[in-house]
């Protein structure tokens, strides 16, 4: 897409290291996020994809320190601009929120307080971080500017959320999310509940605002088509593991992990009606994941070795990492055969 600018900065603004999140259940812990690590560069847009239940939203809430009970963070490290989020005291965390990390929520329909005016919900976030604003006129101008950034009319200033359409509510959430110019913004399925036209407008607004304000963005979603248009890099998650992370062009042109290949193959095409190759959801019990590779039960190329050892991330091309034994140097022959079957099924 022409509207997307690739970023060049190498400065890391968010680094997630070995993050593990469990949900406690009476039958044992469900492993929602299993030792994932990734980095986000300044000004970059990173897409986080995967099917429902793969742990992408849990990862986001983990980064924001908002994992709701019975979920809890087992271990890991989350650094935003060299601040270790997991070590913050309650009051420090409160101040860090929204200035360091902000959230554009999943259910924008219900994400605004129904009994507060739109302006008051933006003012409260400004005032709880920057103190009481005595210059009300300047405050109003500041909010109008935010509205303008996301393409909202000024007349909604005094309105209540129920008086807005879904797309407007979502844009209010975007305006709110960038109000304090945070370092990192996480958009958790920000467009999922909208129709395709509004989806597109909201997604473009998101990218435009991100570029204007210069924040780094993590976009979580399952719509591969929409993500392809707005992100710089894509991280693919499967059952709590990050299986592949690469610049967006590489992922679509040359997907390496068998799961990514299936995922991209499942994008519906208007030219042909093809059967869905990837059928059922995650098959194993999330309390007892299979040994070795997490994907081996559904992988068309799995062999004995996959059950023995967990694949480490292999750096295949520049910035293209994949966690699959096929990309181990010693299994080169197997990889060639596998790729051949993929080309001529």
């Amino acid at each position: 897409m022409s509207e997307r600018k690739t970023h060049e900065s190498d400065r890391v603004v968010l680094s997630v290291d070995n993050l593990r999140i469990h949900y406690a259940t009476p039958q044992g812990d469900v492993i929602a996020v299993s030792d994932i690590s990734f980095e986000l560069y300044e000004g970059e847009t990173l897409g986080l994809v995967g099917e429902s239940g793969c742990g992408k939203s849990t990862t986001a809430y983990g980064i924001l320190q908002l994992v709701q009970p019975p979920g809890y963070i087992v271990h890991g490290s989350i650094q935003v601009d060299c601040t270790e989020v997991l070590h913050l005291e309650e009051e420090e965390l409160r101040k860090f929120r929204w200035t360091g990390l902000s959230l554009i929520p999943q259910g924008a329909m219900n994400s605004l307080n129904p009994t507060m005016r739109v302006k008051d919900q933006i003012i409260d976030v400004i005032e709880s971080h920057e103190g009481k604003q005595n210059d009300r006129e300047a405050l109003r101008e500041r909010i109008f500017e935010l509205f303008q950034n996301v393409g909202l009319p000024n007349r909604i200033y005094n309105m209540y959320p129920h008086e807005l359409s879904g797309g407007m509510k979502q844009r209010v959430c975007i305006a709110m999310g960038v109000a304090l110019h945070p370092t990192v913004v996480i958009a958790d399925e920000a467009t999922s509940a909208l129709d395709v036209v509004v989806q597109r407008i909201v997604a473009q607004t998101l990218v435009k605002v991100k570029d204007e304000i210069g924040v780094s963005l993590i976009v979580i979603g399952h719509d591969m088509g929409l993500l392809a248009q707005i992100v710089d890099r894509i991280a693919v998650m499967y059952a709590g593991k990050m299986v592949e992370i690469a610049p967006v062009e590489n992922v679509y042109a040359n997907p390496l992990h068998p799961y990514t290949q299936l995922l991209i193959d499942s994008i519906p095409s208007i030219k042909e009606r093809k059967p869905l190759k990837i059928t059922e959801g995650i098959t194993h019990d999330p309390r007892n994941p299979p040994s070795g590779c997490i994907f081996r039960l559904r992988c068309p190329f799995a062999w004995e070795h996959c059950a023995d050892a967990e694949p480490p991330p292999f750096n295949v091309e520049d910035k293209h990492e994949v966690a699959c034994h096929l990309y181990d140097e010693q299994f080169e022959e197997r990889r060639t055969n596998a790729l051949a079957t993929l080309a001529n099924p």
């Binding site: 908002l66 929204w98 902000s102 929520p105 259910g107 129904p114 507060m116 409260d124 976030v125 709880s128």
Partner: protein, 336 residues
């Protein structure tokens, strides 16, 4: 903030007057279905003391004429409706020549005061306790204390007043056991008199508050548990708002709406409960008046007191109803 139109206001007023008309009609019919009539009952009582009453038949006849009890029922009914419209509730047959309006006028402020203040206290305290029970930051000892205090909720207020009188008027005599103000005092707007009223009103209103606030605390806590799962609560947390601000602006503010609805629904029940409490304390309000009027089969007074109570609770419901758009912006009372 929502708005409401003249159209809605008129419709709502119509319902208000309809309620009052139905109530007035029932008030007229029900006492006349009871056996006996007040004049014969009075003569019978007199003859118990005197042994016999001279010219009893003549007295009965002249009184029936005087009170219009010989007219056909429908004439009595329309006369009654007309009088009610003018707020002329007639004479009290038991306290002749005092009028019902006089007696009610003397008793009503006491009851409104007792119920009004009690309602204010239990609604505030109850909702606050409920909120503190649900809030993650409230201290542990509160979360133990409040449920213990709430066990009074299953006790009827009248029974609770017995208990309170026993403890705080007889065992530890710090509060008076009877009356609405000090013996020998003349009602006046003096500091001394108001102090005495508050002092005497403490136990009666405490028995209403203690018996009721737990209900509101439970309701509030239940609502807050639901609200905690809402998307806007997660966003409020992510926004890094101050915890107390989240509690009152995001949680209580949204939970108070159904509580207000419940309050309108419970007003009638509340008045019933306070009638018994008033009798316990010989508090000279509407409750005691109703009690006395039923004891003496005083038609006029029964009708008058019950009617005024119905009007006041209908009025309270009307006020809460009309103030709804002020507290819930999603409700606008526009005629559709």
């Amino acid at each position: 903030m929502g708005s409401f139109s003249l159209n809605y206001l008129l419709r709502r007023l119509l319902v208000f007057f309809l309620t009052i008309w139905v109530a007035a009609t029932l008030m007229f019919i029900i006492p006349r279905l009871a056996p006996g009539d007040p004049i014969s009952a009075m003569i019978a009582r007199m003859s118990q003391f005197e042994g016999f009453v001279e010219n009893a038949d003549l007295i009965i006849e002249s009184w029936r004429k005087r009170f219009g009890l010989d007219d056909p029922l429908y004439v009595q009914y329309f006369r009654y409706l007309g009088n009610t419209l003018r707020l002329d509730l007639g004479y009290s047959m038991g306290n002749f020549p005092a009028t019902v309006a006089e007696l009610v006028g003397r008793a009503l402020p006491w009851t409104i005061g007792l119920i009004g203040i009690s309602t204010f206290i239990f609604f505030t305290v109850g909702n606050l306790c409920g909120a503190l029970l649900a809030w993650y930051k409230s201290p542990k000892w509160l979360k133990v204390m409040i449920p213990i205090t709430m066990s009074f909720t299953s006790v009827p207020p009248a029974l609770l007043s017995l208990l309170l009188v026993y403890i705080f008027a007889f065992q530890i005599p710090i509060f008076p056991e009877l009356n609405a103000y000090g013996r020998g005092m003349v009602p006046a707007f003096t500091l001394e008199f108001i102090g005495s009223v508050l002092y005497h009103g403490f136990l009666p209103s405490m028995s209403i508050v203690l018996a009721t606030f737990g209900y509101w605390a439970l309701g509030m806590r239940g609502m807050l548990v639901t609200i905690e799962g809402e998307d806007y609560m997660i966003l409020a947390q992510a926004k890094g708002l101050k915890p107390f601000y989240i509690l009152y602006r995001y949680m209580i503010r949204n939970a108070i709406l159904p509580q207000m609805t419940a309050l309108t629904l419970s007003l009638g029940l509340l008045i019933n409960g306070s009638v018994l409490v008033e009798i316990m304390f010989t508090y000279n309000g509407m409750g005691s008046l109703i009690y006395a009027s039923i004891n003496t089969l005083d038609f006029g007074l029964i009708q008058g007191t019950a009617f005024i109570l119905i009007v006041s609770s209908a009025l309270a419901v009307l006020i809460i109803d009309l103030s709804y758009p002020l507290i819930d912006p999603r409700i606008s009372l526009e005629g559709r």
